[in-house]
């Protein structure tokens, strides 16, 4: 997992397979990075994700709660069609916006 801070927004580049086994470490890493960089905004990029099950939804909802709990915003980007289907099925896009590119996701979090 690689992270960068763009205009005060933490951008997380998720990699590999997002299942129950993987999410526990990723969750802690994201929370650590949010605290360390004093970021209120969060963008999750799914470009490097080959597989995701409902554990990924739990990860997003959990970060959504922690980010909005600190009056921050959050967005998703670079979502492949199989992942998009799981997002649509879950209704998660009603609370978290989805963008084609990292740039537009960062802009959306910044402007919100």
């Amino acid at each position: 997992m690689q992270t960068s801070v763009v205009n005060g927004v933490l951008v997380v580049h998720l990699e590999g397979e997002l299942d129950h086994h993987a999410v526990e470490t990723i969750r802690n890493d994201i929370e650590d990075q949010l605290a360390k960089n004093h970021c209120r905004g969060l963008v999750l990029s799914f470009r490097g994700i080959d597989f995701m099950d409902s554990s990924g939804l739990g990860l997003i909802l959990g970060r959504y709660r922690s980010v909005t709990g600190r009056n921050g915003k959050m967005a998703l980007c670079a979502v492949s069609p199989p992942l998009r289907r799981i997002f649509e099925l879950s209704g998660i896009l009603k609370v978290v916006s989805m963008h084609e590119t990292e740039e537009s996701a960062v802009r959306a979090v910044k402007e919100a």
Partner: protein
């Protein structure tokens, strides 16, 4: 079904896998089922759907069946014509109220950041999902998916 098998090469086949209740084995179960159904020549979409449904069922056995503790998860896959049957079984806690568990967004473990979408995903990605569970004894999830109908037309 299953009456005229004379000309079919891979009309019937099966495999069994058993492993301890460890989250690292979720990927093993996905890879095994994926390799097994390849003989039916599924589309990428069908393959992803099967892998995701298996991942959900195995994760449920580990998290809810055994509460993250010790136990054994068993997977049984069978091909019959153009169809695959998958059974995921555990000897864990069982489900008190299956109807409640099936509700989208229902989770008994919100503190673990579970989304409550596991069974909904299984039901959407597979053609048939049947859950048998006895509290204190375990849970058996049987899923079926039609991959191709060509063998029936020959």
């Amino acid at each position: 079904m299953g009456q005229e098998v004379t000309h079919a090469v891979l009309q019937q086949n099966y495999m069994k896998l058993q492993f301890p209740s460890l989250s690292a084995n979720e990927a093993l179960a996905r890879m095994a089922v994926s390799a097994f159904v390849m003989q039916l020549d599924p589309t990428m979409e069908q393959l992803t759907e099967i892998k995701t449904a298996v991942s959900e069922a195995v994760t449920n056995a580990i998290i809810h069946g055994y509460d993250g503790g010790e136990g054994e998860v068993r997977m049984y896959c069978a091909i019959d014509g153009g169809m695959v049957d998958i059974v995921i079984e555990d000897d864990g806690a069982g489900i008190e109220d299956i109807e409640e568990a099936r509700q989208p967004m229902f989770t008994s473990r919100p503190e673990l950041e579970r989304s409550g979408m596991g069974i909904t995903i299984m039901e959407n990605f597979m053609d048939e999902v049947v859950i048998d569970s006895t509290p204190g004894q375990g849970t058996k999830v049987r899923m079926r998916k039609v991959i191709s109908r060509t063998s029936e037309c020959q």
